[in-house]
Symmetry: C2
DNA sequence: CCCATATAATTAGTTTGACTAACTAACTAA
DNA sequence: TTAGTTAGTTAGTCAAACTAATTATATGGG
């Protein structure tokens, strides 16, 4: 068993997460949507309607990039823009039913791939993974 | 505690890994390199010298895309192309010392961010994360 | 009150990274 | 030897990232 100090654990978790997600990514093709569009939709589905700037920040891109991306998604009928009642400069970007369904389809494809592999693990291993998921969520949040 | 069947575990691990890596990604800016370039360098550092087609496959892009990317990296002095002795059509793409150093710098920045957070966990939690890392690597490989 | 400054989103223009199609060179096997 | 395959590059296009600048609205201090 390798060392268990913070740096070593960080390294191994980092690498393993990258590899796992890279493997899962191949399923995204089933939606016909690009990765940035799929990711933005996902943020909207799980985070709820939000302003353009909030969405841009969540996706770590600039406002103009997100403005264009949201414009494209709107043209495809996957999101809708609503005026912010409290601030006339602002928008509320929300997912449409169609957008939600498409995002869900991609998500299912990814998860089907992972689930098939998780299913081959023992019950104890699944519990271990599950516990680690909660820890990774903690790592995702700044102290 | 939530259910522990394969689908639920896959969902939670999937989401947690995405969140964690997204948080770590902000450190990449320290290198001045784009994400695709950094990722390709990383593959070369850890996987060793390889052909263009092997690198393209590892990065899930087409050969022309990788050809251009490697050309740019070469122009920046981060990788070197060597002729494959056994097959005159082929290349061996290897990282230069400069490329290795730059990639290592970005990696350190990411890991410093994660390590600081991992260090706040208990010894038992770190062990749990570490065990899960091994499992995630297994999930990354097709059955 | 109103002006200065800040914030939300967009537009314009550029660069990077993705693709397909088409090409050359070299290897392989009938 | 020649037909087919594989490795890599070139050309051309499109999507997605950036910065700079614009418009509209908010907001705080004199």
């Amino acid at each position: 068993m390798a060392k268990d100090d913070a740096l070593d654990v960080a390294e191994r978790v980092h690498k393993a997460a990258i590899r796992m997600l890279r493997a899962a990514r191949v399923a995204d093709a089933t939606t016909g949507l690009s990765a940035p569009k799929l990711s933005a939709l996902s943020v909207l589905v799980f985070g709820g309607a939000m302003s353009l700037s909030a969405l841009a920040k969540a996706e770590q891109v600039t406002a103009p990039t997100m403005s264009k991306l949201v414009g494209d998604l709107e043209a495809e009928g996957l999101v809708a823009k609503r005026a912010d009642k409290a601030d006339k400069r602002g928008l509320r970007i929300e997912v449409t039913a169609k957008g939600r369904a498409l995002m869900e389809k991609g998500r299912q494809a990814r998860l089907a791939l992972l689930t098939a592999r998780v299913a081959k693990l023992s019950r104890a291993e699944r519990a271990q993974l599950d516990a680690a998921a909660a820890l990774m969520l903690k790592l995702a949040v700044a102290a």
